[in-house]
Structure formats: structure tokens, C-alpha cells
Symmetry: C2
């Protein structure tokens, strides 16, 4: 019916073609009907894990961003949520609001998106496009055993707190790029901001080893506080144990701390595990070629107000005032 | 951690409170973790049905719209997709881009949204909010038996074509309101545009009776063409059998046809079924108090170009030229 490059032709052209041909035992019906149909495991403990994220121009990315990086990152942050649950990615939907049907943008956006989607065999199963300010909404679906899923409310006093990889690079890149104050190490940091690696394999490997986990999107202190609140515990972190990304080597020490504790956008995993699991966690780390560092421990709550305590480089607990500076990204 | 009315407080305040307390055997874990966890039936033929829609200001609604109507309709159009599959609604995610954290807007928006969500016991299981132009992305999840699901590609030559309810009211309302040319019947039509009733119960009742179905969002001709294309058939409709909404009674006959054939936004169901099912379909219609009208039939394809043939009031097939006027809404 449509003769112009209408909505349906658009989706068909840039997305459906790349989505089809890729079969998956989990996708009974993909793009093209009123709904997609997804098959979940008949294993009684299996659950569908769902997460949704909305990406808006001027907030999560800027006009001059490479469209392939936007496509990549929009899916990456969703896969990171699955990773933080220990779930295996299965499929995703994509809703796009676009000012116009810019074929160069769409082609590049799709390239970055499918580069990551194909890596995880995560299938595009449906979507929607509309005219409007550039906005991207991805909903991702995975699968996880409910008895092992890494929930925020499962941290227990006495457990170790761990983090994967190295922190602070994305914070440095945001600061350098968008506050117009270039810092040493910016170039090295930039790639981490644009192309975060969702820790999917690490999250899956933690099933049965870790109790609670979260991915670091808003900043270490802010995200760890979510675990502390949900689990009714206090988390104690030691600043000089937090692994620093090499791009931060030449920035002042106060900014190093700021980027590591509050930088956000690193998309590493923070998780809690019994100390009896240390050897196994190191083995996972070695097998997957991704560092895991013990950065603190979980305690019984000492007060209603306290969620996270950070011991600074002088072995003093940071004041509430100081911690507030590190509380992470707030959208309003 | 957050002291201001930050992102998390916002979601918590306006949405999570209404979402919690409502338990569901299908939702293992709702709002508040990295992912929600959904339990699907262990019945081997059961599938998760997923649909996503993006609502943008200036396109799907205007600044002066009542926020409760926006909340209602954003979910209604998604439930309508489930209805067109015969699926039972289970849960949804909500991603919101908002220019500011306007508490009156959010409260009213949530009221309209949950009015409908609660009616169908469809649980809010997660979401995201960000600062930006008003955009709403809902992803809805339902459940359906794959052997009976109403797919677009399942229409067969010889089957009847049916439509629920009466058509044209939403088209009239859009025309009157947004083209600034008020027509008789506008007031009656307005409610249909603002508060469409997703035909969820009717869709479920069609399982085992109908083969293909679609919901009417872009317009009867455009939407039926999707069934024709997917099923490799031709659909023949008879204009004077199409049930007209009473609000159209006093508008010129050419506009009546335009609103019924191309108006879109009616969110009724069009479906195909063997003629042996007529009695049963009338029984469903009677039981649910919703008209169902036989408006045509499915034929073997006569040419590659033809998807839909409409016999006009003079018993002539409309020309391709005329039909083009009725081809429905294109977003670009």
C-alpha cells in the first residue's frame, strides 16, 4: 500500500532485513505481526528477565555522536541490565522517534546496533518508529533461573563486595568532552564511554557464586546504595582498593576519586558474594579475561541514614558531605 | 542517596506505589531491580507475546491533551496489539521522557494509565525516566497459545472478513480537532479517539474461531492490506457493509467513507474466519456485547499489485486512484 518510504518500508529496510535470516529457537514469531512471540524454557525455575531504557538526544548522547556508537550503546546499556541479573540475552524491541528518515543515520545506527546484537545472538523481534525528536527506547528480554538470579535485595552482612574491570574512564570522558575541559587520558577514556562492554558472560558466570549484583550506570556509590537499600544492609568500600582505569593516571587525585565513585556510565558489575567464593570468582575472572577486585564488604546496618561508607585514602570514613558529591547522576 | 525529587523518587512516587501491592502469579519480580522477572506458563504451546509503541507529542497527542487520556491511550494501543493476537495481557514496562518532573502531569498520567492497567490486571514491572521532549514508550507482554494465535499471515481464500464495533469516529475526531474544521458528531467521536477500548476479550474469544487478525490503527484499508500481504491473498471489502459509527451520520458521504476506510485510530479488530464459524462469532459478539460485522471475504490473489479491493456504494470496485486516498496514516 505504501509507495513512499513510509514507516513500514523504513523498518523493513533498515532493521527487519538484518533481523530476519537470523533464526533463534527462542523467537517463534519476529518482526511483522501485531506482537512478536517468544518461547521461554519449560524449565519451571526459568524466568523471562525484562529491562527497558530510554535514550534521548542532549541527555544520553549529543548531536555530533557517531550514529553507530548511539546504536551500539542504546543496546549495550540494556544488555548490561541483563548482565546484572545473570540473565542470557534472547531478544529486544526497538522504538525510535526520528526527526526525519535520514538513511545515513539509520544505516549507521543499525550497523552499531546489530554489531552488538549479533555478538550475543539477541534478536530484534519488533518495534515502532515515529516522527519526533531523536529518542530511542529499547526493551530487552533474557532468561534466567529464578533460584540463582542476581537480585539487588540479596546482599548479606559479611559478604565481600566486588567490582569488575576498572572504573572512572566514562566519567573522565564525559567531563572532558561535555564540560569543555580536556584532561590527560581523554582519548583512552572516550572509547569506554562510547562503547561500553556489557558484562554478560561475567554475570552469567556469577550465578551460584554471587548473591546480589548491579551494573554501574549512575556511579559506584549511587548504584551500590541501591543494593544497600534493597538488602537493608550497609556497604563499606575502601577507596584505594577500587581499580582505577589507566586513563585516569594523570588527572588530579580528587578527580580520580570523583570519576571512580560517581562517574557513572562504566557499565561494570558490582556484586556481593560470600568470602568462601573468592577462589572461584578469581577463576571466573581469569577464564573470562576480566579483572574482578574485592573493594569492600557488607555489614549490618548501623543507622537508618547510612547506606554506603567509603574509607578514603587517609583511612578515614568520608563525611556525608563529601559522599554527597559522589552521589551520582540524577536526571531531574 | 537521592535527596531531591530525583529520577528514582519520581518513579517510586507516581508509578511504583500504584504498581506494588498488586500481586500477580506471572510477575516474580517487579519494579526496583535491574530487570523484572516474568513467569510464563510451563504449558509447551504457551508463548510470550510482546509489542512496543512509542507515543510522541505533536504526533500522537497534543500539548492540550488531558494527561489522564494520554496515559490511558498509550497503554490502550499496546493492549490492542495483544488483542489482535488473542493474547492475555500480563505486564508492561514504561519509559518516559519528560521536559520536567511536573507532578500534576505525572499524577494524572498515572491515573489514566492505571485505570486501564488494573482493568486488565496488567502489571507495571519496570521502566525508565529521562529529561527530554515528552515521549512515552510502552512495551506490553502477554501470553497466548501458539497453535491458536491470530497471526497476520494466516488468512485463507474463502474466509469471511469481519470487523468489531463501528468505524470512522476517531478519523472524524482527528479531522475536526486538528484540521480545524469542526463537523457534526465531533463531540460523540472525540471520546472514541481519546479513550479507545482495546478489544482484548474479543481477541481471546476468537482463539480457535478466527485465523488472522489485526487491530485498526492506521485505517481499515491499510491494516487489512498487511493481512493480505502477509497471507499472500486478496481481501475484498464491501463499502456499504462496513459498520459506521453513529457520530458520522451527519457528515457528507465521501467523508464517511474516508473516515471508515482510512481514518485509523479506531482500534477495532479486523479478522478472518471460515464461514462455518459465523454462528459462533455471532454468539461471541452477543456474549461480549460488541458487534461483529461480516464486511467481505478473502480471495486467491489475482495480481501482484492487488491487496485490497473495495466495492463502493454503486457496486463498482474502487479505482486504485481512489483507494490510494484511503491508504492510511504514514509517519514519514
Amino acid at each position: 500500500v505504501a509507495e513512499s518510504l513510509g514507516e513500514f518500508a523504513l523498518i523493513q529496510h533498515y532493521f527487519a532485513q538484518q533481523a530476519q535470516g537470523k533464526t533463534s529457537p527462542f523467537v517463534t514469531l519476529g518482526i511483522g505481526d501485531d506482537c512478536a512471540l517468544l518461547r521461554s524454557s519449560v524449565e519451571p525455575a526459568s524466568r523471562i528477565a525484562i529491562s527497558t531504557d530510554l535514550f534521548a538526544q542532549g541527555r544520553h548522547f549529543f548531536q555530533d555522536c557517531n550514529p553507530a556508537d548511539i546504536g551500539y550503546k542504546a543496546l549495550a546499556v540494556n544488555l548490561s541490565d541483563l548482565a546484572a541479573m545473570g540473565a542470557t540475552p534472547r531478544a529486544f524491541t526497538l522504538a525510535l522517534s526520528l526527526p526525519n528518515s535520514d538513511s545515513v543515520f539509520l544505516q549507521e545506527f543499525a550497523r552499531g546496533l546489530f554489531e552488538l546484537a549479533n555478538q550475543y545472538e539477541c534478536r530484534l523481534i519488533g518495534g515502532d518508529t515515529t516522527k519526533g525528536p531523536l529518542t530511542i527506547c529499547i526493551t530487552v528480554l533474557g532468561e534466567v533461573n529464578v533460584l540463582q538470579a542476581l537480585r539487588r535485595d540479596a546482599a548479606m552482612p559479611g559478604q565481600d563486595v566486588w567490582v569488575t574491570g576498572e572504573l572512572g574512564a566514562a566519567g573522565l570522558a564525559v567531563f572532558s568532552t561535555y564540560e569543555g575541559r580536556p584532561l590527560a587520558g581523554e582519548h583512552l577514556a572516550q572509547q569506554r564511554l562510547l562503547r561500553p562492554q556489557p558484562r554478560v558472560a561475567f554475570g552469567q558466570a556469577l550465578l551460584g557464586l554471587a548473591s546480589a549484583a548491579i551494573d554501574l550506570s549512575d556511579g559506584l556509590v549511587a548504584d551500590i546504595a541501591h543494593i544497600a537499600t534493597a538488602s537493608h544492609v550497609e556497604v563499606h568500600l575502601v577507596a584505594n582498593q577500587i581499580p582505577m582505569h589507566p586513563s585516569l593516571r594523570d588527572v588530579p587525585i580528587d578527580q580520580q576519586l570523583r570519576f571512580m565513585l560517581a562517574g557513572g556510565d562504566d557499565y561494570e558489575l558490582a556484586f556481593c558474594a560470600d568470602s568462601s567464593q573468592r577462589e572461584q570468582i578469581h577463576a571466573v575472572s581469569k577464564r573470562l579475561g576480566l579483572n574482578a577486585t574485592n573493594i569492600g564488604h557488607v555489614q549490618v546496618k548501623t543507622s537508618d541514614q547510612t547506606q554506603v561508607v567509603v574509607t578514603d585514602l587517609n583511612h578515614q570514613a568520608m563525611s556525608a558531605q563529601t559522599l554527597k558529591k559522589y552521589r551520582g547522576y540524577e536526571h531531574f
